[in-house]
């Protein structure tokens, strides 16, 4: 069971890594943002599977922190892309 979960974590990670291409190449700022968010979501999924498979303490908390700060970072990206001050 644990191995199946780890395999799934690996596959999710690979899928998210495929999105890395868009994060790095763009072309638009929105493409980069969305790909970075995909990587964050993929990371959360992989971490939760690893936590279930290994029972390592605190891994769920890492996923929790990523989930909160990922949403926060998307706000910061949008603000920065259109220039601060919310105009």
């Amino acid at each position: 069971m644990a191995e199946a979960l780890l395999l799934a974590a690996g596959l999710i990670l690979l899928a998210a890594l495929a999105g890395l291409y868009r994060a790095l190449r763009g072309p638009a700022a929105a493409d980069r943002m969305m790909a970075a968010q995909l990587l964050c979501s993929g990371g959360i999924g992989a971490l939760l599977l690893v936590a279930a498979a290994t029972g390592m303490a605190g891994v769920v908390d890492v996923a929790l922190v990523l989930a909160l700060l990922g949403a926060f970072a998307s706000v910061a990206f949008v603000l920065a892309a259109r220039g601060l001050s919310g105009r």
């Binding site: 690979l14 790095l24 690893v50 303490a57 890492v62 926060f72 603000l79």
Partner: protein
């Protein structure tokens, strides 16, 4: 199978790092930096260092990424000044060589460690119950390497002072950073109302759980800071002016509590930063709580930047 995944993850980290250094524009470079921090957090989990993974996720990818993003926005339109301050090719080459040599020396040092590597881990594990703290990382950071942690705490105060010192005289005492208009509808308004109540609970939880499991003041404080910044950019929370006493106390509360407890060690224990065993855990929790507040305040102020609003 695992080896293949590790290899892919490792190559991705190095690849994103090289790409982030090589890219010319600022915005994509910050995206690369955040992606790099995310991948690095996964690597730390893979290595079994969950505490470090939490710190990397919160401070490396989250806080530093946002500070860099705000810096990118502030740098727009300052082409001449940026070019004047950009190091020339020779200076960059020298910095590159220096980094390469340091990296190589570290790699050689790590690879030539005797097996088993010399370690104080067993001694720490033996004495950990005296502190009443179950997380060995927190035990080491607060007790055995307390001075290092104290200096890290003081650095935050200096960072805020350095940023405030950029303020022009006529702005001194004003509100730090831009003032954002109130968002009464739209996605930002929704997120800034929904996320902070959850985030504040999670931030306090991460700081509190640090005594017994991965977590701690820096990670918890970062989440609290992120929630404050979210409310600030949505116009729901106004930053206090830098002249505010409450704000200044919030920034120095952690280091002051740390130094105060440290000095009490001269009277009640074996010296500076030594805790009387009977109340070691309450003292450590007191410092951690004060530090969580100070880390959060300092990070918000670092993102906000020097006072630039109207004088309060």
């Amino acid at each position: 199978m695992t080896l293949l995944l590790d290899l892919i993850l490792g190559l991705a980290v190095v690849g994103v790092a090289v790409w982030t250094l090589a890219v010319r524009e600022n915005f994509p470079a910050v995206i690369g930096f955040v992606a790099y921090g995310l991948l690095l957090a996964l690597v730390w989990v893979r290595l079994g260092a969950v505490d470090v993974a939490l710190t990397e996720a919160a401070l490396g990818a989250g806080a530093t990424g946002v500070i860099l993003l705000f810096a990118v926005v502030r740098l727009r339109g300052g082409r001449a000044e940026i070019d004047a301050a950009t190091p020339g090719p020779r200076q960059r080459l020298a910095a590159g060589i220096l980094c390469g040599v340091v990296g190589l020396a570290l790699a050689v040092a790590v690879l030539s460690l005797p097996d088993p590597a010399p370690s104080q881990a067993a001694a720490v594990a033996r004495h950990l119950p005296e502190l009443g703290v179950a997380n060995p990382i927190t035990g080491v950071l607060m007790a055995y390497r307390g001075l290092d942690t104290l200096l890290e705490a003081v650095v935050l105060v200096f960072a805020v002072l350095a940023i405030w010192s950029m303020a022009p005289d006529r702005r001194w005492g004003a509100v730090p950073g831009p003032v954002f208009p109130v968002q009464s509808n739209g996605p930002l308004s929704l997120l800034a109302r929904l996320l902070p109540p959850i985030g504040i609970v999670v931030g306090i939880y991460i700081a509190w759980v640090g005594a017994d499991a991965p977590g701690g003041k820096f990670q918890g404080g970062t989440i609290l800071a992120a929630m404050g910044i979210l409310a600030w950019v949505a116009g729901l929370w106004r930053l206090p002016p830098v002249a505010s006493r409450g704000l200044r106390w919030a920034v120095v509360a952690g280091p002051l509590a740390f130094i105060g407890v440290g000095l009490l060690g001269f009277v009640f224990a074996d010296g500076f930063l030594s805790y009387p065993p009977a109340i070691a855990k309450p003292l450590i929790l007191l410092i951690e709580a004060a530090m969580t507040l100070s880390v959060a305040a300092a990070l918000v102020l670092m993102v906000a930047g020097p006072p630039e609003g109207r004088r309060a």
